[in-house]
């Protein structure tokens, strides 16, 4: 079945949650509401054998021209190894309450992808088993991939002082 027809089927199954279907360069994206995201992906996984999660990432639409929708989006790129079909889901996540349900129950591998999205965008994944920062240190301030986070800054990482203390402490052991 073609991805566009799967998207149409999704719209039939979840009429209130599908916000739009787009196609660009032959790739189909379905914009969905965030609440039934687990059910939608579960449906795709069981009914259409979308068993491979290619990628899961966040997007900040703050500076985007001509954008309709919420500030944040979570992208789910799904692929069916048997049927060789790509389909992309785009869940809308509002700025006021940046949270969405976790899909760790469907793929164990989604665990780290969601942690990364939380780390870099500050999107909270409900029911995630271990939602903490992954690429930046635990005490990092802010979420680097948000568009209002500057590329360059002059602040030091707060853990740097502790690190220096630790080095001084280790000196007595003659390391």
């Amino acid at each position: 079945m073609e991805p566009i027809r799967i998207a149409a089927q999704l719209e039939e199954k979840f009429p209130d949650s599908i916000l739009g279907i787009m196609e660009h360069r032959g790739q189909v994206t379905t914009s969905v509401a965030r609440t039934p995201i687990v059910e939608i992906i579960q449906f795709l996984k069981t009914e259409h054998q979308m068993n491979h999660l290619n990628c899961l990432c966040g997007v900040d639409n703050l500076h985007r021209t001509a954008h309709v929708g919420e500030r944040f989006e979570v992208i789910y790129q799904l692929y069916s190894i048997e049927n060789r079909i790509l389909l992309r889901l785009k869940a809308q996540v509002p700025e006021a309450e940046p949270a969405i349900d976790s899909i760790c129950g469907l793929w164990t591998g989604a665990n780290w992808l969601e942690r990364e999205t939380y780390d870099l965008f500050g999107i909270i994944f409900n029911n995630h088993p271990n939602l903490k920062r992954i690429l930046t240190p635990d005490d990092w301030q802010g979420h680097p991939l948000r568009k209002d986070y500057a590329l360059k800054g002059d602040q030091e990482w707060s853990g740097f002082e502790q690190l220096k203390e630790k080095a001084a402490q280790l000196k007595q052991f003659e390391f």
Partner: protein, 405 residues
């Protein structure tokens, strides 16, 4: 009972027999700066918690501030063992996003360098994996062949590791007759070398004991853990992007995708050994069928070549005439998003791009195989021995530059 601590690290004190060990980030068997926090019961791992981020350089943030052409150099620093494959992966994705055509000769050259990168990466994998398990000789033999490929890369683009060879719409330099001759010699000799490695370890009793049944992953579990590449195919799932969604000239190549059965360390080892042979056949086909013609498409953006007709050069007034402006903020790219994946030696390297119509990507996400493979380590490493964890890290073939981005 109070916990005994030495330098803030809890040690076993009888009340809780778990020994907590931080393996890495300087441990040589963790292939870079990977740290694995272990909770041990004797030598058995109760809990395995990999910690990454030591090499995080913020490529995704950086990429939003650079033009598409400038970002090619960032991809070298992802998987620095097979930079060529990353270059190709990035360019294929951007070309799909901006609809740039690539001439057939450039497509073939891309396949050729991709497979050279695959062989070179697998050689390094075999060398270090065998070294981790205790077979020193293989290490030296593999580096001997890898050197030939690296020298070929240097001849092709002037650099052994950080190649930055591809350009949007083609490749930087044409392959010369001398490179083709040297590659032909390599392709002729290499099957003999593969047999040589196999003599050393394929039926080696120690090797078999250290790999058979270790780190076993079932097919369903491998898909569940989002494994890709040889790590997934070792479990029996025939998912190879070169065949599933062919890019460059892979649809014109005749090759097989080796698939394992048992899903253990030995099966993954066999998969990669077979991939050596398949890559070698692809290289042979490339040499035989390399089409003539241009190596850069006529509508290639960003790269400004003086020889290109019909295109005005912009010169930087401050730096004099020497510096050609690379920045190109024309509003001619269509806004939209694509996800394009390519098969790099480690697995599936995907780029998710959002274009806002500008000369720079609005958002670039890198889906790196190593990130997910290390994530899977937490599950696979549970309940194994420490020595086996080393074998498992080796067999998943991770590179931390790609994981941390």
């Amino acid at each position: 009972m109070t916990k005994t601590t030495i330098l803030d690290v809890q040690v076993a004190d009888g009340a809780d027999d778990k020994y907590r060990l931080k393996m890495g980030p300087q441990h040589p068997a963790t292939h870079g700066v990977l740290r694995v926090d272990l909770e041990l019961d004797g030598e058995t791992i109760d809990k395995c918690d990999p910690q990454v981020g030591y090499l995080h350089r913020g490529f995704e943030k950086l990429a939003e501030h650079r033009t598409y052409a400038q970002n090619i150099v960032l991809t070298d620093r992802l998987d620095y063992i097979s930079a060529m494959a990353n270059n190709v992966g990035y360019c294929v994705a951007v070309e799909k996003l901006l609809a740039i055509e690539v001439p057939p000769r450039a497509q073939f050259i891309r396949v050729m360098v991709c497979e050279m990168a695959r062989i070179s990466s697998h050689l390094l994998w075999l060398a270090t994996h065998a070294l981790d398990i205790g077979a020193m000789t293989v290490f030296l033999y593999c580096f001997r062949e890898r050197e030939v490929l690296l020298e070929l890369f240097a001849e092709l683009c002037g650099s052994r590791l950080t190649n930055t060879y591809t350009r949007l719409g083609g490749v930087r330099q044409d392959v010369t007759h001398s490179i083709m001759l040297k590659l032909q010699r390599f392709v002729d000799e290499f099957p003999g070398h593969i047999a040589e490695y196999e003599t050393l370890i394929d039926t080696n009793r120690i090797w078999l004991k250290r790999t058979i049944g270790i780190g076993q992953i079932s097919a369903d579990k491998a898909v569940d853990l989002c494994l890709t590449g040889p790590s997934l195919r070792g479990s029996g799932v025939a998912y190879d992007i070169r065949q599933h969604i062919p890019y460059a000239a892979y649809n014109q190549m005749d090759f097989e995708v080796p698939v394992g059965e048992t899903g253990d360390t030995y099966a993954r080892y066999r998969c990669r050994m077979e991939e050596f042979r398949q890559s070698n056949t692809i290289l042979r086909q490339c040499i035989e069928r390399m089409p003539p013609g241009p190596i850069l498409g006529k509508d290639a953006p960003d790269l400004i070549m003086p020889a290109k007709p019909g295109r005005k050069l912009e010169f930087d007034a401050v730096a004099g005439n020497a510096l050609i402006k690379l920045i190109d903020n024309r509003d001619l790219y269509m806004a939209g998003d694509v996800y394009v994946a390519t098969e790099v030696p480690k697995g599936e390297l995907g780029f998710y791009f959002i274009s806002d119509g500008m000369g720079r990507p609005y958002r670039m996400h890198i889906r790196s195989p190593s990130f997910l493979h290390i994530g899977a380590l937490a599950t696979i490493g549970q309940g194994v021995m420490i020595a086996d964890l080393i074998a498992i890290i080796g067999t998943l073939d991770v590179v931390l530059g790609e994981c941390d981005r």
